[in-house]
Symmetry: C2
Subunit: 333 residues, 2 copies
């Protein structure tokens, strides 16, 4: 569990896209952000107060979160200076970088000397159990996709927000690095050892109130041959009561797999539902989330209407249309 | 890759079952075994020559394989004495124990000083790639089960043997600890990190002759909620041309999961085939392997005949009937 609130470190981001992790935190958990820390030449701007480490500390920030990708796969000396000072000022550090903070000898030594914590969210910090399949109380919804990177995390976050706005009880459950940094907690599923994948998701979504929903971030796709095992572990470990199908209509092949066509929404619906019912015989598919970022307004509306008629399920782009109809569909389960 | 031939270490096994790993090596790769090493009080006997370390060394043995389970989850002082002497005599050590050899300070130090290798086959020794789904040359068959521990490894080993007896080109590809110790090579799939599971199986079953078959050891089951993700990674990483269904008919619930019924063979056939065709559209189901160890001779024959008629596929218990008919079915693919 990463302590909040955060000071968001944007470093020397060459553009806004490089700081998309910080942008995600700012968009979805603005209350977690007291300000941003930008270095000389930083081209990203989250429209948060620019703060020094001391100012952020005075404003209550507990953790400096690296919300920017590093260039060239190493942590530069200029970054290091800030990170070491942050530890000395009493901040924990959190990072989703491939290079682990704990493998940097200076950071590890200063963290130990100052008693601060280095959170490398790419790797598990917990020894997860093997899944035991016991039925848990409370409800769970999982986003399943036709492909990787079609908007499953966005859908889950938007759904969680819509549910809370309607007064429903819900918790977004992160299963990837960005989601973990946004919420401060979760399971980095792609880094979990095979035998413990489903168990890590049981751990992430424990017993809860009967009317509480865990909104579980999906990963991969049953039809993506590189990562499908991760997806099935989510379906079985998550024990979902409801599935939401996610799709990006303009993609010409599976991400990273030229020659592999995308499955149809019907194929994903049928295969995911059949497998989900092994763990939860009452599981249903409640809606469809379409990522229409590469479509015009009219085209997007027409596409969603066509899918809605074809599958007989509420179909929205949560970014354009909000996730309210998906939340309503869950409320009716 | 573990160097062969082996001296099989049976330690102080309280009975034959405790030495089942050694028994598997002796049954399936007798040419890999020069002898057995038994300590005072050992109740297991593989009917191999009893040898001292020096005698086995003189007979050409390269590796001392721990073929017995340890009691109480620790490596005893009596075992240690033998293992240290073996390193000093020039043997490598190989083990599938949960306690890793490399974590024993004395063994690690002696291995380093003597230049010998400690093979802990429970954990990967390779950095596997992420699967890229590229079509590989050669053919592959995968055993898929209704449940865990229904005889998938046995089926694959028997099939490999039957194929070789018929002059077909085949290689058993181990994906678990026992299989790795039997053959000296393989992927400990349950210990691989999630993102690299399918890639590890691509690595295990590379391009080969067009008429060569990799016989891939299955793991878990699509219908076992604890381990299904591992099974799907095998189906997608293995890119199988053929599937063999494995079943144990007397089981009353999924292994370790009271309350979870076994799927039917038809459910496993349909779901595994649908998912396998994502990676290989030409995949077919060629036969059924039934583990009839808890049935009488007549009952076993009647059960296999019933399944054969129902599914229209050659159905055998490889232990009772041999795997020849399954090999013939593969030859016809």
């Amino acid at each position: 569990m990463i302590e909040t609130p955060y000071l968001l470190f944007l470093g020397d981001a060459p553009d806004g896209l490089a700081a998309k992790v910080a942008q995600g935190i700012r968009d979805w958990r603005p209350d977690n952000c007291v300000g941003q820390f930008r270095m000389e030449g930083c081209k990203a701007d989250l429209k948060l107060p620019d703060m020094t480490l001391a100012e952020a500390k005075a404003a209550g920030a507990k953790t400096l979160v690296i919300g920017v990708a590093n260039r060239g796969g190493k942590i530069s000396a200029a970054w290091k200076k800030v990170l070491v000072e942050a530890l000395e000022e009493g901040f924990d550090l959190a990072s989703g970088l491939h290079n682990l903070l704990r493998n940097e000898k200076d950071l590890a030594a200063v963290a130990e000397a100052t008693g601060r914590t280095l959170h490398d969210v790419r790797i598990p910090s917990v020894e997860y159990p093997i899944a035991d399949g016991t039925k848990r109380t409370g409800k769970r919804v999982l986003a399943v996709g036709t492909d990787c990177s079609v908007g499953k995390m966005y859908t889950a976050l938007a759904l969680d927000k819509a549910m809370q706005e309607k007064g429903m009880k819900s918790t977004f459950r992160a299963t990837g690095q960005t989601g973990i940094l946004i919420t401060g907690d979760g399971v980095p599923l792609d880094a979990v050892i095979a035998d413990f994948m489903a168990g890590s998701i049981e751990y992430l979504t424990p017993d809860n109130d009967p009317d509480h929903w865990d909104v579980i971030e999906g990963q991969g796709s049953l039809f993506h041959v590189s990562f499908s095992g991760v997806t099935l572990a989510l379906i079985h470990g998550g024990q979902p009561d409801a599935l939401i199908l996610c799709h990006e209509p303009t993609r010409t092949h599976m991400r990273g797999l030229p020659g592999y066509a995308l499955p149809t929404l019907e194929q994903v619906r049928d295969s995911a539902l059949m497998l989900a019912r092994v763990g939860n015989p009452d599981c249903v598919v409640v809606g469809v989330s379409i990522n229409t970022q590469h479509m015009g307004e009219d085209e997007a509306a027409a596409y969603c209407a066509e899918v809605e008629a074809r599958l007989g399920l509420p179909t929205v782009d949560p970014f354009r249309h909000g996730a309210g109809r998906l939340a309503d569909a869950l409320a009716a389960v």
